[in-house]
């Protein structure tokens, strides 16, 4: 019994660490592009896509679900871009309007149109439940336990994200630093933007069961923002972000066990506290340096 419990704990930590890695890698680019709220927008607006795909597939782990949600996420990005560039609506207003509208549509679908056929409840979408991932085990050959399905889905997302970032590194870097220069080289920067938004959608969708649509934003943004304070090189920033994300997951997990509170809540809290510690150190050091300057 003890071994099973330890195994379950291990998979909770591993799955949450993969969420942290996926989110941090993309979060670095979102933070550098000053598009942090885009993660928030996408994570909420994929809801109607999830509901529709679930309605047709009847299965919460269906690939159709990922596809549907990823498409909704990219559509969100297209709509936000269109509102701010063509209709000249302020960018933050475009984001606020688009994602609340889509999320509200998703709510209507769950509570009205598809109720009875769709077994999704809003609490699950908003908060996820990482403690439940071990209920859905993937076992092959009748006795070989590969891990909870959430872990395996998360792992495939990690492979996809890392491949895209590895091969698309230059494209994403141009997009984040100097989009106009990329255009002047004849690159299709819109395509890079939508590839990135597709990845963000994918990561938020696969994570919503685990950490929920609200706190996934913390996984996206907090480690990346902390890493930005710690280094001024791009590749180290990505590694720092992943490392900080995983550390927050591990500390958060044991804190949650100790205090008997929500796992995800504790993980994001630790992440936020790490951020504020680093901010404090940076501010104090700056003060000391400028103090030395004066003397």
């Amino acid at each position: 019994m003890k071994i099973i419990n330890e195994m379950n704990d291990l998979f909770i930590i591993l799955t949450a660490s993969l969420v942290a890695i996926n989110a941090s890698v993309l979060g670095v680019f979102l933070v550098l592009r000053k598009m942090s709220m885009m993660g928030d927008a996408i994570s909420h607006s994929v809801l109607p896509g999830i509901v529709v795909a679930y309605y047709f597939s009847g299965d919460r782990t269906s690939p159709l679900l990922l596809l549907g949600a990823t498409i909704t996420g990219v559509l969100t990005a297209v709509l936000i871009d269109w509102l701010s560039s063509k209709a000249k609506i302020q960018n933050d207003a475009s984001i606020g309007i688009t994602y609340t509208l889509l999320f509200a549509l998703g709510m209507i679908m769950i509570s009205g149109w598809f109720s009875g056929n769709v077994d999704i409840d809003l609490d699950c979408v908003l908060y996820g439940d990482i403690a439940l991932i071990n209920l859905d085990k993937v076992i092959v050959d009748e006795n070989l336990y590969l891990g909870p399905s959430a872990f395996l889905i998360e792992l495939s997302a990690t492979v996809i994200v890392l491949l895209f970032v590895f091969f698309g590194f230059r494209g994403f870097k141009l997009l984040a630093f100097n989009e106009d220069f990329g255009l002047s080289l004849g690159m299709n920067m819109n395509r890079w933007h939508f590839v990135m938004m597709g990845l963000v959608s994918l990561v938020t969708v696969v994570s919503f069961e685990v950490v929920g649509a609200v706190l996934v934003v913390g996984f996206l943004i907090i480690p990346a923002a902390t890493a930005h304070l710690l280094t001024n090189k791009l590749i180290p920033m990505i590694f720092w972000a992943c490392g900080l994300g995983v550390i927050a997951v591990i500390i958060g997990f044991y804190l949650a066990v100790w205090l008997n509170v929500s796992y995800t809540g504790a993980m994001v809290t630790v992440s936020g506290l790490l951020f504020f510690t680093v901010v404090l150190v940076v501010v104090l050091r700056k003060k000391r340096l400028s103090g030395e300057y004066l003397h």
Binding site: L32, K34, K88, F167, G168, R170, G171, K173, L174, A176, F177, N178, D180, F181, G182, L183, S184, L185, G186, M187, H228, T231, N232, K233, L234, P236, M237
Partner: protein, 263 residues
């Protein structure tokens, strides 16, 4: 021998939010010269450069570079955006940014090779930033940041360079560094288009001028463009500027008749 044409702009009109920024611009520019694009604030200088570079879709008209559509000659054209257009807190070193000048559609998914590294290091040396090669770009002065952008354009190994306000807010060292690079480029037969707004220095920097105010006011040699009539057409009611016009014309050192000076 027919003089080579670097950039041709035909009936170019561009709008922003329904308001024309550029109206029916039509000109062709010579190759191998340092060309200044001047005009008052909001006269569409940056828009013109972006339209030539294909960053911005014009409402009508088209652009040709070396007698070809831009997409066929992209690798012969380098672009230096305004320094303020990017976030210099971005985690990159001088070397990283200059390396972007070696990015091509064909190598975007690849890693850097040795030849690229060599070109990048030479470009950094040309702008005098070798000792800052590994420094993070936020730790540079404004002038040094401008030189990073120039080095990135040099690394593109182009034949024509489009620069948006490279002289804004730079120190004397950077100014003279840019000027000597420009001289060298001219010697090599390269064409440089520079947006500039300081009329006082126009005659020191450029061989050829384009004077813009939504429409094309004038283009040609300094003597042809810097006349009282052209400048007052472009700068309109800006009286303080008009008072300076005489000074500027004097600076270009061609004879001015007494009655012209007597404004």
């Amino acid at each position: 021998m027919k003089k080579e044409v670097s950039v041709e702009v035909h009936n170019l009109t561009a709008t922003y939010g329904g308001r024309p920024v550029l109206w029916d611009i039509d000109f062709s520019l010579p190759a191998g010269q340092i060309i200044g694009i001047i005009g008052p604030n909001g006269s569409g200088k940056t828009t013109l450069l972006k339209a030539i570079m294909g960053i911005l879709e014009p409402s009508s008209g088209y652009v040709k570079v070396f007698d070809k559509p831009l997409d066929e000659v992209r690798e012969r054209v380098a672009y230096v955006p305004q320094r303020e257009s990017v976030d210099w807190d971005f985690p990159a070193s001088v070397f990283d940014v200059v390396m972007m000048g070696r990015y091509r559609k064909s190598n975007l998914l690849k890693r850097t090779n040795k030849a690229d590294v060599e070109i990048v290091e030479k470009s950094i040396e040309k702008v005098g930033l070798t000792e800052f090669k590994n420094r993070q770009i936020s730790q540079l002065s404004g002038g040094q940041q401008q030189r990073v952008f120039i080095a990135r354009a040099l690394a593109q190994k182009a034949d024509i360079y489009l620069m948006d306000e490279p002289f804004v807010g730079v120190d004397a060292a950077t100014e003279s560094s840019i000027l000597s690079i420009l001289q060298e480029m001219r010697k090599e037969g390269k064409t440089v288009l520079i947006i500039h707004h300081d009329l006082q220095t126009v005659s020191e920097y450029f061989d050829y001028l384009v004077l813009l105010n939504t429409r094309l006011v004038a283009k040609g040699t300094l003597q042809e463009v810097l006349t009282k009539e052209n400048l007052s057409n472009a700068y309109g009611g800006q009286l303080t500027l008009l008072a300076k016009v005489v000074d500027i014309i004097k600076k270009t050192e061609f004879p001015i008749r007494e009655k012209d000076v007597d404004l």
